[in-house]
């Protein structure tokens, strides 16, 4: 197939982007109006609205941030109960150089709000842990990366970088390649805090309390997670988790590369469903550029996203069952997963981490037998799922291992900022694909599976059902057929011209040269876009300063708040429960530590 068919035959006639243009989101006016309503409802003089953003955005006085967050959470109409994200941005030339950005979500109204505070280098910020428990680790991360101190934080120490690290890595004046050696003396000594309900019991107990370390190299922790538990006999009375054992600097690396070069890095966030990360990042940059991928590209993106979601759930279920001793299911589930990997290879040339999307579409068109092969895989998957379900769901050993294990209440899950299958297992039907549909998910007929209970068993049920729903979506997508047309936008400021044209036309050669040398240059501004990843809401926040490098790429990792809540779920349980519950959360270290 000639690569010429990749692009439309009609030449691009739109305007050339002028450098340093201001980004104007399509829905800016609506958001401004909504922002005014929110401000009127809260009525706080500390909130100053920022106009022309893609979300209702407020610049908040630093001292009032906790009150504003609490007011937004508790307001009867607004109910911004879920903390989505908290991160910093560094503008070294400004008088108060740091922005700390809070993003909240309201399940009741299905809307988001963004709050910003400005902090100078020697200033501190009041902690918001009392309002949202989930902000505990986020604040530690901001401290680690920017050196911003939070007053009243219960445990403000480094979270991603190691203890011997000097400086703060995401500051703009930090050299991206400057490493620091960790010596044995620098290894963090963690002593979990005893949970409140067990504080008094030590005198009555027959046992001496023992502190046990699991991980980071432990079969049940999948490589890079570390949990420290204090045991009273067999009961866990205190637990703490340590992360950062796979912190490979995604956000700093993004700042030193061009917009296209970031795509392979996004693959390696959640490597079990890598393609969804590609889609999320590329759609964020597309939103910033104000372009949309062609219909054919969107269709393939949707299908492969669902395939990767299925593969992600296969890995999650399979390894979870291995951890509690049921090895057969792992072999069963890896067989259809291998077929999905084969399909990915057929499309992109790579097995696990496809790097298949580009800003503005896809790298190459799908082969002719893509749909027929998808049909083959999709027809075989229900059989495997049914078989595994038949093997375990009425197995008493399995049920005893997972029922009532690793329980989290709905309120806690929301307060920590959980999303995805783990949140849906507590009975909240929040799915980005339904709440803010993208890629045309709203045109498909499918349901959001929800389970009550919030335990390991409920998470199993949700994942099994989600596989079936994804199969339904893919089946509909296959029945509709691939729309004709190109898979890449016809915009020479975003998409490389085909090689034949580069070698034969002066104009294409110039475009090619310009795009390689100067890169994609989005307008100046910031934007946030979210997709439903394998583990929940995967959001990208991109700040552009009009150059070819992103000024800041923030990824909202779904695993981060989930793992943050994990120590709390362990209190009162036993060590085997740790193993069963941990695997059911499907913590992917690449995404957790970035």
């Amino acid at each position: 197939m000639s690569t010429l068919t990749k692009y439309s035959a009609i030449p691009y006639t739109g305007p050339a982007p002028t450098n340093r243009q201001q980004y104007v989101p399509a829905d800016a006016q609506m958001m401004d109006a909504r922002g005014q309503e929110i401000a009127a409802k809260i009525g706080s003089p500390a909130m100053l609205q920022e106009h022309g953003q893609d979300l209702p955005t407020f610049l908040v006085d630093k001292a009032a941030i906790v009150d504003v967050l609490r007011a937004l959470r508790d307001h009867a109409d607004l109910k911004f109960t879920m903390p989505l994200d908290l991160f910093g941005v560094d503008y070294p030339n400004r008088e108060r150089r740091f922005d700390v950005v809070y993003q909240l979500y309201s399940l009741a109204n299905n809307e988001r709000v963004r709050l910003k505070i400005r902090v100078a280098e020697d200033e501190t910020v009041p902690t918001s842990v009392d309002v949202f428990q989930g902000y505990n680790w986020y604040e530690r991360e901001v401290f680690d990366m920017y050196g911003i101190r939070f007053d009243g934080h219960p445990n403000l120490r480094r979270i991603l970088c190691h203890e011997n690290f000097q400086g703060h890595a995401l500051r703009k004046d930090y050299d991206p390649a400057q490493r620091w050696l960790l010596t044995d003396q620098g290894v963090a000594h963690i002593m979990p805090k005893i949970a409140k309900e067990y504080e008094q019991e030590e005198a009555d107990s027959d046992f001496e309390r023992v502190t046990l370390n699991l991980g980071p190299s432990h079969p049940a922790t999948h490589g890079t997670l570390r949990i420290v538990v204090t045991l009273d006999g067999e009961t866990i009375v205190g637990a703490d988790a340590e992360i950062g054992y796979l912190h490979r600097c995604f956000e700093k690396m993004s700042e030193t590369h061009t917009y296209q070069q970031v795509i392979p890095y996004t693959d390696r966030l959640n490597y079990c469903s890598a393609f969804i990360n590609n889609v999320g990042y590329c759609m964020t940059v597309e939103k910033l550029l104000g372009i949309e991928a062609p219909e054919r590209a969107q269709h393939i993106r949707l299908m492969l996203s669902e395939f990767h979601r299925i593969a992600d759930h296969f890995v999650a279920i399979g390894t979870n069952l291995v951890d509690i001793g049921a090895l057969t299911n792992y072999w069963y589930l890896f067989q259809p997963r291998e077929e999905i990997i084969g399909l990915t290879e057929m499309l992109s040339g790579a097995r696990l981490l496809p790097t298949y999307t580009r800003v503005g579409g896809l790298s190459i068109d799908a082969p002719a037998d893509f749909l027929s092969n998808s049909q083959k895989i999709i027809s075989s998957i229900p059989r495997f799922v049914d078989e595994v379900e038949a093997l375990i769901m009425r197995n008493r050993i399995f049920r005893e291992r997972v029922e009532g294990v690793g329980v989290i209440s709905q309120e806690d899950a929301i307060n920590f900022g959980w999303t995805g299958p783990c949140l849906r297992a507590t009975g909240v039907p929040y799915d980005v694909r339904k709440a803010k549909p993208y890629l045309g998910y709203e045109t498909y007929d499918w349901d959001v599976p929800v389970s009550e209970g919030g335990d390991t068993y409920a998470r199993f049920l949700v994942r099994f059902e989600e596989i079936r729903q994804s199969v339904r979506i893919i089946q509909q997508a296959i029945d509709r057929g691939l729309p004709p047309g190109p898979v890449m936008v016809d915009n020479p400021y975003v998409a490389l011209p085909p090689k034949e044209k580069v070698y034969n036309e002066m104009e294409s050669l110039i475009y090619h040269f310009k795009l390689i040398m100067h890169g994609i240059q989005p307008p100046v501004g910031e934007t946030y876009f979210q997709v439903e990843g394998g583990n929940g809401e995967l959001g990208f926040y991109v700040v552009s300063d009009g150059t070819k490098h992103p000024y800041r790429v923030r990824v909202r990792p779904p695993c981060f708040p989930i793992y943050e809540a994990f120590p709390k779920m362990l209190i009162g349980q036993t060590i085997p429960d740790v193993v069963a519950a941990l695997a059911s959360l499907n913590i992917i270290a690449g995404e957790l530590d970035r």
Binding site: L160, C161, H162, F165, A169, Y174, D175, P176, A177, Q178, R179, W180, L181, L182, T183, D184, V187, P216, S217, H218, P219, H222, G223, T224, G244, Y245, L246, H247, R248, C249, K252, M253, P264, Y265, D267, R268, Y271, C272, A274, V315, T319, W331, F334, Q335, E338, E339, I341, G342, L343, M346, R351, L352, L353, N373, K376, I377, S379, S380, A589, G590
Partner: protein, 194 residues
């Protein structure tokens, strides 16, 4: 060209399997060094002679017990290698042990960052001799495309490495090839000691 097995629901080409003893090698095992020597009356005798070291190396190469030090994406491909489709059991290296005391081949699958580097060193120290290390993938080999403030630029900064596998991540075939190459190397007796 082997005949392609048609599995209705599979898109991956498969080769027909051969039962043990039915293949070209007819189930015979050749001991190292045996082919070079003229053995008289082997038909009646129930013994062969060879060097002890050669037999030991031959056994070692054919029964590697891997310890997956899996941290990232490569660990998923390692999982693919040990699971049903690729099945490393065909080469005797399927006994995955997570305890360093019970394994002799460490497969470092994934990025090693500065925070986990002391752990890697400690686990390697805990493995009994003889021990072998495979650095799987670009990150373990050289830090890969993470030339960053928290990433070890290749695990040979910390521990000795016997085999490097290219790829990001390497395919399961690639890792399998490395295991086979390591096996050859062990059987030749080329591996360092101590």
């Amino acid at each position: 060209m082997p005949e392609k097995i048609l599995k209705e629901d599979s898109i991956i080409p498969r080769k027909p399997g051969v039962a043990p003893g039915q293949g070209p090698e007819k189930g015979l095992i050749t001991l190292p060094g045996e082919a070079d020597r003229e053995v008289e009356g082997l038909g009646e005798a129930s013994y062969v002679t060879t060097k002890l070291e050669q037999v030991v190396n031959w056994a070692r190469g054919n029964s590697l017990w891997p310890l997956p030090f899996g941290t990232a994406c490569c660990a998923i491909e390692f999982m693919s290698m040990v699971s049903s489709h690729y099945d490393v059991a065909r080469f005797g290296a399927e006994v995955v042990r997570f305890s360093p005391r019970q394994s002799d081949l460490m497969i470092v699958a994934g990025t090693i960052v500065d925070k986990i580097a002391p752990v890697l060193k400690k686990i390697h120290d805990q493995m009994p001799e003889p021990k072998y290390v495979i650095a799987m993938g670009a990150c373990a080999t050289s830090g890969g495309f993470y030339r960053a403030y928290h990433v070890v630029q290749g695990i040979d900064e910390i521990i000795p490495v016997d085999m490097w596998v290219p790829g990001c991540p390497p395919t399961p075939d690639g890792l399998m090839y490395a295991i086979l190459k390591l096996k050859e190397k062990i059987e030749r007796g080329e591996i360092r000691r101590g």
